[in-house]
């Protein structure tokens, strides 16, 4: 009990002193005082725990699933601010616990860092695990992607049979790893590209998993959606994309305004506790880009597998606003700015495509940091297709600790030098970008993770966005 009290004091203190959102420190402190804190608290959630992991989309998917669960009348415990280590889960549980250590909540929806997933599986005994995707991301931190996949495989093999694994059928590595779970598996995926996007038969160079995980042959793709994701098959050993139980069909992208599509949930996606019928749900989301269609489909598949009713799925998806920095909008000196977090090659390519779909001649502010949370290695910038911007970008203002690398990247991508502005200071960069913005146009801010936090703090000081822990 002392642990709870100390941790709650720490949370309050950290917010009062403005050193952070109070999302990590209390958890860390409490875990030091009571190591079995997470299992003890998590066990009390009546409807169990859902863990969500993957390289891209953890925060958004958790938020969407949380929104759906709330629409279904459940009290959700959620590590909202992206504190996705065990300490963050502990902090979220603590925030919903009484001083006597009783948790008020029905369902835990926690996003989990890829490397933390095995530990989180052991600590929370989840009812459902959502595996989104595996992209190269911060190799300096995680080491090789195959090592990570191995750790997932081993952890999933230990998962009790009653637990369900919801996984992305379109990601070859994730689909392969998911088979390590012997219990219920629910696959989700995209059935066709939206008509607005050019179709591709080969993955982009940022792609990771182009060679069959069983036999090493290159996959043959009939559809490429994002990076290495799509409809793939190996002509040698017959490994192929599993049929999706929950599919996104008739996808219409609406630039940075969101997307509309139909979720087709097959009978195999039904929960044992719910009627096992097929459903076709017309959904809308305010979250932009194909990534978010994947995230929304993952959330819908998870909700479907949990037995949540269709109305709540539709309402939850529709009503969930973008998580901080991920399609969030702010008004700056009367102009609209959209912030689109871009932290790895596949994600950045998707953001560029979304921006160019919305605006043929955009003004962009690109902010690149190389702190630990961004990845110390900025090599990945050279895998992003900035060539897409070459003749189309109206102006590009670059900033951040590695703004110089970014300016160099744009030079080699063929962006005319006159359209590139390097501005070290982020406040001045923001001003410079607004100055280049024609009347009535929207500014696109594309930051790495810590650059996004910095810019948000800057905007918060100007009073245009709430602090991220206030959401």
């Amino acid at each position: 009990m002392a642990a709870f009290l100390a941790a709650r004091a720490a949370a309050a203190g950290s917010r009062a002193l403005r050193v952070g959102g109070g999302t990590t420190l209390p958890g860390r402190l409490a875990m030091a005082l009571a190591p079995d804190l997470v299992p003890t608290l998590a066990r009390q959630l009546r409807r169990g725990v859902v863990l969500i992991s993957g390289t891209n989309g953890k925060t958004t998917t958790a938020r969407l699933l949380g929104g759906i669960a709330q629409a279904a009348g459940l009290r959700v415990v959620h590590n909202r601010a992206g504190a996705n280590l065990l300490s963050g889960i502990a902090a979220a549980l603590l925030a919903h616990a009484t001083a006597r250590g009783r948790v008020h909540g029905d369902l835990g929806v926690f996003e989990v860092d890829e490397a933390t997933l095995p530990a989180a599986l052991a600590a929370t005994e989840p009812r459902l695990v959502v595996l989104l995707n595996l992209f190269r991301d911060q190799l300096d931190r995680y080491g090789e992607i195959d090592l990570l996949a191995d750790r997932w495989r081993r952890a999933l093999a230990r998962l009790p049979r009653e637990a369900a694994v919801v996984y992305n059928a379109d990601d070859p590595l994730v689909a392969e790893v998911a088979q390590a779970h012997t219990g219920r598996r629910v696959a989700f995926g995209l059935d066709a590209l939206p008509e607005a996007l050019p179709s591709r038969q080969a993955p982009e160079h940022a792609a990771d998993s182009r060679y069959c995980y069983a036999c090493g042959r290159p996959y043959v793709y009939t559809l490429v959606t994002l990076g290495h994701m799509g409809h793939y098959a190996c002509t040698q050993c017959g490994t192929a994309r599993p049929a999706a139980d929950v599919r996104a069909v008739e996808v219409h992208l609406e630039g940075v305004d969101g997307a509309a599509f139909v979720v087709d949930a097959g009978p195999r996606g039904g929960s044992p506790d719910a009627p096992d019928a097929r459903a076709r749900l017309a959904v809308r989301t305010r979250l932009p880009g194909l990534y978010n269609v994947y995230d929304a489909t993952a959330a819908a598949a998870a909700a479907w597998a949990l037995g949540v009713d269709a109305t709540a799925v539709v309402r939850g998806l529709d009503e969930t606003a973008p998580a901080f920095g991920r399609g969030e909008r702010v008004v700056l000196e009367g102009r609209e700015a959209v912030m689109l977090l871009a932290k790895n090659p596949a994600g950045f390519n998707e953001v560029l495509r979304t921006v160019l779909l919305a605006d043929g001649a955009p003004v962009v502010l690109i902010a690149i940091n190389d702190l630990i949370a961004d990845g110390r290695d900025v090599s990945w910038l050279w895998d992003v297709d900035f060539e897409l911007l070459a003749d189309r970008v109206r102006a590009a203002v670059v900033t951040g600790l590695r703004g110089e690398e970014m300016a160099l990247r744009l030079k080699y991508a063929g962006v005319p030098p006159a359209r590139i502005t390097l501005e070290r200071d982020s406040a001045l960069a923001l001003t410079a970008a607004l100055r280049r913005l024609p009347a009535g146009r929207r500014l696109y801010i594309l930051p790495t993770y810590t650059a996004m936090l910095q810019l948000r703090a800057l905007l918060a000081r100007q009073g245009v966005v709430p602090g991220f822990w206030a959401q």
Binding site: G216, D370, R376, S379, W380, W382, D383, A407, L408, Y412
Partner: protein, 245 residues
């Protein structure tokens, strides 16, 4: 004049921005009015030693290296060796660098036999061993020019007597984290752990490779100078980040 580049395994060995090197060679040749032809050689594709003057091979994880190693030896080995002996340029980074040596002993599984083009071998000290990760600055051995980059490797590389190191480590780990050497050079074959976009931030090296590659076919060439303001600024920041963190 035409610069003829062969990009080996562009889809398999491209761990982290390696293609930035090819983009840099292409751009810096074209900016000077030199024509460029890039041929991509994938698994199973044969290589003509006469057709290319510059070979580039990038990095990969153990799994990709295991796929590429036998192909490099059996399908392309003789051609690359013949071209290199005849004065062609080879640039290999990270995993590709390891594959040019005699062998690579991974953390788990059997040894991978390399091409033996560079007199060196690489040993991974085991799954629990610390990876050598971080910003790196080296001083090139013959010119004293500073090169900057990022390294991230589990394997430790040890040089034999037939090769020189590319440079001396100023900040970072280099070949093995102990002898302060980084990379290896034999004739015009260059291997280095400075992975990914090594050439954009080190235009001196990019131009050296272009000039040497052209020389094989056209005799000694002098490259027109370019304005490298952005290149130097990015290298300056990379060096500063290496020193501070």
């Amino acid at each position: 004049m035409e610069l003829r580049i062969c990009h080996l395994y562009p889809d398999l060995l491209n761990l982290y921005g390696d293609r930035g090197n090819v983009a840099t060679l292409v751009a810096r040749a074209r900016w000077r009015g030199i024509q460029v032809r890039v041929v991509e050689a994938r698994l199973g594709d044969a290589v003509d030693p006469e057709a290319h003057d510059l070979f580039f091979i990038g990095g990969g994880e153990d799994r990709q290296q295991r796929l590429a190693a036998p192909d490099l030896r059996r399908v392309k080995g003789d051609a690359v060796r013949a071209a290199a002996a005849d004065g062609a340029v080879v640039l290999a980074v990270c995993g590709g660098y390891q594959l040019l040596g005699h062998f690579y002993r991974p953390a788990e599984g059997p040894d991978l036999e390399g091409l033996g083009l560079l007199d060196l071998h690489t040993v991974h000290p085991g799954p629990g061993a610390r990876r050598l990760i971080g910003n790196v600055v080296i001083r090139e051995r013959t010119s004293g020019v500073r090169l900057v980059g990022f390294e991230n490797h589990g394997g430790r590389t040890y040089l034999g007597p037939q090769v020189h190191p590319l440079g001396e480590v100023l900040v970072g780990f280099g070949n093995n984290g102990t002898d302060r050497t980084e990379g290896a050079v034999w004739r015009r074959v260059y291997g280095t752990y400075l992975h990914g976009p090594l050439l954009p931030k080190n235009p001196w090296l990019a131009d050296l490779l272009i000039a040497q590659a052209l020389e094989r076919r056209y005799g000694a060439v002098t490259l027109a100078p370019l304005s490298d303001e952005e290149e130097h600024r990015a290298a300056e920041v990379a060096a500063a980040r290496a020193r501070t963190g």
